[in-house]
């Protein structure tokens, strides 16, 4: 039975490859049906796998004697997996309409499905080798999504994405070589895998290795100083791909850091060391800087990308504090940010699709044209700012509470303060669009407005994601209980 974990990984990858190699389909309809079916089947397979083979180890093969490729579905994997599925399915069906105005749809969906499968593999990876393998593949297979439009800017953004990500991957590999030497096993297990006898006397070397690995994964998560690719790559992609990249793919970096810190080195090994301080500092710098840059950015998709930079570092800060509450907050924010950022990018995409407008200041009166869309945008924005009753409020509450209770000198109050300032900035860069969209002002020419609400294929996924982000805030206990138990286990 345990082989079942392979199905949600292999099925989308193979169907993606099938799409890539087969010749152009006769009509668009059959392509969409194929993709839709693949997404649904993968979802079913993934949920079944999560329900039936939880915590079972499945060894695929041995890369070398000491490097087995194996899968195991654990709690963290389930959280990231479910978030991934929701966003992938919603953005996928959004794309059915949106991708009409792009070329090479077959290629786009081919890579889209491959990325989906690889993401599932990352969530279910049972040890560092497997994770690293699929981490590299994720970069390689998601690059075509970034440069899909084929404009010079997009191709350059794609290459930038590729090289930054690979740089991160190689930093991970550097740490990998060292931890391999001093660990009992590289399978993810709660607590530390370091062999105390071997590691004795090499603490500073291992701290260095841990730091390099954290930095390596944080490239993917867009942490300062390795964030520059993110604001180039995410806006360059077609909107549904931006949504997936910004909502889910960056989380692969977060997942990597969780695995390294909490499942390999162990939090107790890093608590109170220079690694923790440097990491927290960088995360806080990123939180503030991302928000500030987003505030100054006029192009909507770029603004959202800067917002991602900032918000992911909320999560990273939560992980860096290494306190149960902060960790819970961080993981909750993984869920909330994914849902919200997907909504925001899809809204931006729908606006581009319907009106061709890309800059935030062009969006006056947009609420009169697309009321449903802008309502979704507004609700999601409130979630990102952290206003109750949305999910974002709960996650930020936990983050701040965790930081305060951790008692780490300096950071215990600087952290929450930075988070608060950033929340204000977030309101400052997201809500003006709502305001000028619904209340364009007296001098506005209402005559030029016409109904431009996008079709149901676009609206429904957006509405669904918005609803989920609110539900996460209304009934947070379901999530917090689950996550808090998880956090208690691994800390």
């Amino acid at each position: 039975m345990s082989y079942f974990v392979l199905l949600p990984i292999l099925f989308p990858i193979l169907s993606g490859i099938f799409l890539l190699v087969r010749k152009e389909m006769k009509n668009r309809q059959s392509l969409l049906i194929t993709v839709g079916a693949a997404l649904v089947i993968t979802t079913v397979l993934a949920i079944t796998a999560m329900l039936t083979v939880r915590d079972e180890i499945f060894l695929v093969f041995n890369l070398t004697r000491t490097l087995p490729v194996l899968f195991k579905i654990d709690g963290v994997g389930v959280i990231f997996g479910i978030v991934g599925i929701i966003v992938f399915v919603c953005a996928g069906s959004f794309g059915f309409e949106y991708m009409k105005h792009e070329e090479h749809e077959k290629r786009y969906y081919g890579f889209y499905l491959i990325v989906f499968g690889i993401l599932m593999a990352l969530c279910f990876a049972g040890n560092l080798v497997t994770f690293y393998l699929f981490f590299e593949l994720l970069t390689l297979s998601s690059m075509p999504l970034v440069l899909h439009t084929g404009s010079k800017e997009a191709v350059m953004a794609g290459l930038k994405y590729l090289f930054y990500s690979l740089c991160g991957a190689y930093m991970v590999l550097f740490g990998f070589y060292f931890i391999n030497r001093y660990a009992n096993t590289l399978s993810f297990s709660e607590g530390s895998v370091l062999n105390p006898e071997l590691a004795a006397g090499h603490a500073s070397l291992l701290l260095g290795a841990a730091f390099v690995m954290i930095m390596g994964f944080s490239v993917k998560a867009g942490m300062f100083p390795m964030h520059a690719w993110l604001t180039a790559a995410h806006p360059a992609a077609p909107a549904p791909a931006s949504a997936v990249l910004s909502a889910v793919i960056v989380k692969a970096g977060v997942l990597g850091i969780i695995r390294v810190v909490y499942y390999l080195f162990g939090a107790s090994f890093l608590q109170g060391t220079w690694v923790q301080s440097v990491w927290m500092t960088l995360a806080l710098i990123t939180v503030f800087m991302g928000s500030l840059l987003a505030y100054r950015e006029p192009v909507l998709k770029k603004r959202l990308a800067y917002s991602t930079v900032s918000q992911i570092s909320y999560i990273l800060f939560g992980l860096a504090v290494m306190d149960p509450d902060a960790l819970t907050g961080g993981m909750l924010h993984v869920i909330c940010h994914s849902l919200v950022k997907a909504v925001l990018f899809l809204c931006a995409g729908a606006i581009i699709y319907k009106t061709g407008k890309t800059r935030a200041d062009e969006l006056r009166g947009i609420g009169k044209e697309m009321p449903v869309l802008l309502w979704c945008y507004t609700v999601a924005s409130l979630g990102l700012v952290g206003i109750p009753p949305t999910g974002g409020f709960v996650s930020k509450w936990y983050l701040a509470a965790g930081a305060l209770s951790s008692g780490i000198p300096g950071f215990f109050w600087i952290g929450p303060a930075v988070l608060l300032i950033s929340a204000l900035l977030t309101a400052g860069y997201l809500l003006p669009i709502t305001i000028s969209g619904f209340f364009p002002g007296e001098d506005f020419d209402y005559g030029g407005l016409k109904k431009r609400e996008p079709g149901v294929l676009m609206t429904l996924p957006i509405a669904l994601l918005t609803a989920l982000s609110v539900l996460a805030g209304l009934f947070p206990n379901v999530l917090t209980d689950f996550i808090a138990r998880l956090a208690a286990d691994i800390l």
């Binding site: 890369l63 393998l133 690979l166």
Partner: protein, 491 residues
């Protein structure tokens, strides 16, 4: 009697090579069949020797004292001779199709086949003198291949090649003299044959001799600053660049250095001395230097040549670690890099043969027109970068493990160099892949409409090498275990 077969595998290709211009072949096809049969038979004989190897050495001639020309099969021989004999038949097949566009085929194939025998001579050499003899011979038989096109550029390149190689061999010769005086024997013995009593106070002199010999043999392995002949020699027809300048000739240099380090001077004598630091620093510098030049280079074959420079120094870095694990890493990379690089060179050659395009910026949009060639090129690019599951990952893994194991801070720096090099490899290889498959929006498809994949003689070797790349990547354990036995003197 059984031993004399060692001489046969050296002489058979040499004599057949000499016969090629003399025999009255009516058609080109007859020459092809003759050569392919000779090469395949020779390879089978080599494999026969390797599987049923004679314990005794075979002495052909005896000069004064213990200076002899003698042959012996040991683990290193098995690796190098096995590698060369596995690649040669495929390279010859490829050359048949490639050379249809070139002139003076007969003289080309004459020297090409003779090189096979000479390379085996290096592999089978039982002592320093024999190896030195064949090493010089290798230079002489390959010079005509470099200047094959007889263009001004080719003649200049062959002159550079000649001067560099002969100069290097002169330094190597010095070490031969010192080894005859201070060594108990010049035969290759794992662990070295220096007589430490005779060395006495002259340790530093001998270390200097070692460094000089390392650099001398390093000329063929294109070590910095003696590398400029290799990119220049890229004017030779692609079968030469691919087989000789990525495998046979340059790896003879690496092979000779391994012999010198592990079998003549011995790691006990060298490890931890200033000589080790010097040679290791040189290899580390070359690793990064080669890659950086490759990134800058726009000529396709020269770019791959710079990549070879960098990768050869991976092998030498393994040699410079001076531990059994380092030797395992070196041998792994020697074999695995051979397959990866010959595959990428053959792809470059196929592009040049089919389209007459030589520069990277001319490759836009060729991916869909030559799916086999660029498919294999992509695979070899990923393998060279070290994506897990492909050959390059395993060899880099072994090298890095050895470096971590050594505990020497300088070799930690070597790991950093390896990873920087991996990133740069991604830059110079994947930009080509991206160009070929994602030519961008304003690309005119008509410019490439006539272009096709080459014929089966070119495609078959490509597919075989790709299969090797994947097999080495996924099932490396038997190979690596064999290398471990070699490094520990079991073979």
């Amino acid at each position: 009697m059984k031993e004399s077969i060692m001489l046969l595998v050296i002489l058979l290709p040499v004599i057949s090579g000499i016969l090629v211009p003399l025999l009255p072949f009516k058609k080109r096809r007859h020459m092809e069949i003759f050569l392919e049969i000779v090469v395949v038979i020779n390879s089978l004989l080599v494999w026969g020797i390797l599987l049923e190897f004679p314990e005794e050495s075979f002495t052909l001639a005896r000069f004064t004292g213990n200076l002899t020309i003698s042959f012996r099969v040991d683990g290193m021989t098995m690796v190098f001779a096995g590698l060369v004999s596995a690649l040669w038949p495929f390279a010859t097949l490829y050359a048949f199709e490639y050379m249809t566009r070139e002139e003076r085929e007969r003289s080309f194939f004459a020297f090409y086949t003779m090189t096979y025998g000479v390379t085996l001579g290096i592999a089978l050499a039982g002592n320093m003198l024999t190896m030195y003899f064949f090493y010089e011979l290798l230079t002489l038989v390959t010079v005509p291949l470099v200047m094959h096109t007889l263009s001004r550029e080719a003649i200049l390149a062959s002159r550079t090649y000649l001067y560099y190689s002969l100069g290097g061999a002169a330094f190597a010769f010095i070490s031969l003299i010192f080894l005859t005086i201070y060594g108990s024997t010049t035969d290759f013995i794992l662990g070295g044959a220096l007589d430490l009593e005779r060395v006495g106070e002259r340790t530093n002199t001998l270390l200097l001799v070692y460094v000089m010999a390392f650099l001398g043999f390093g000329v063929k392995a294109a070590i910095c600053p003696f590398n400029s002949w290799l990119p220049k020699a890229g004017v030779a027809p692609t079968p030469v660049t691919a087989l000789l300048h990525a495998v046979a000739v340059v790896k003879s240099g690496a092979f000779a250095i391994l012999r010198l380090t592990y079998f003549s001077f011995g790691t006990d004598f060298l490890e931890g001395t200033w000589a080790q630091s010097v040679v290791m620093a040189i290899t580390m510098f070359t690793i990064v230097y080669g890659c950086s030049r490759a990134v800058k280079e726009t000529h396709l074959k020269r770019r791959l040549a710079y990549s070879t420079i960098s990768n050869l120094s991976y092998i030498l870095f393994g040699a410079a670690l001076m531990s059994p694990a380092g030797m395992v890493g070196a041998l792994t990379h020697m074999v695995f890099h051979a397959v990866m690089k010959i595959a990428s060179f053959f792809c470059a050659g196929a592009v040049m043969h089919q389209t007459d395009r030589h520069y990277v910026h001319e490759l836009n949009g060729l991916g869909y027109k030559m799916p086999w060639v660029f498919g294999v090129f992509t695979l070899s690019a990923l393998a060279l970068m070290g994506v897990p599951g492909l050959a390059g990952f395993v060899s880099k893994w072994n090298l890095a493990l050895a470096a971590v194991e050594s505990g020497n801070p300088l070799s930690y720096g070597g790991i950093v160099c390896l990873l920087i090099s991996a990133l740069l490899t991604a830059v110079y290889m994947l930009t080509i892949v991206v160009r070929a498959f994602f030519p961008g929006k304003d690309f005119d498809d008509r410019a490439v409409s006539e272009i096709r994949d080459p014929g089966w003689k070119m495609v078959v070797p490509l597919v075989v090498f790709s299969a090797f790349i994947v097999v080495f990547g996924l099932y490396s354990s038997p190979f690596v275990e064999f290398f471990q036995k070699v490094a520990n003197g079991i073979y």
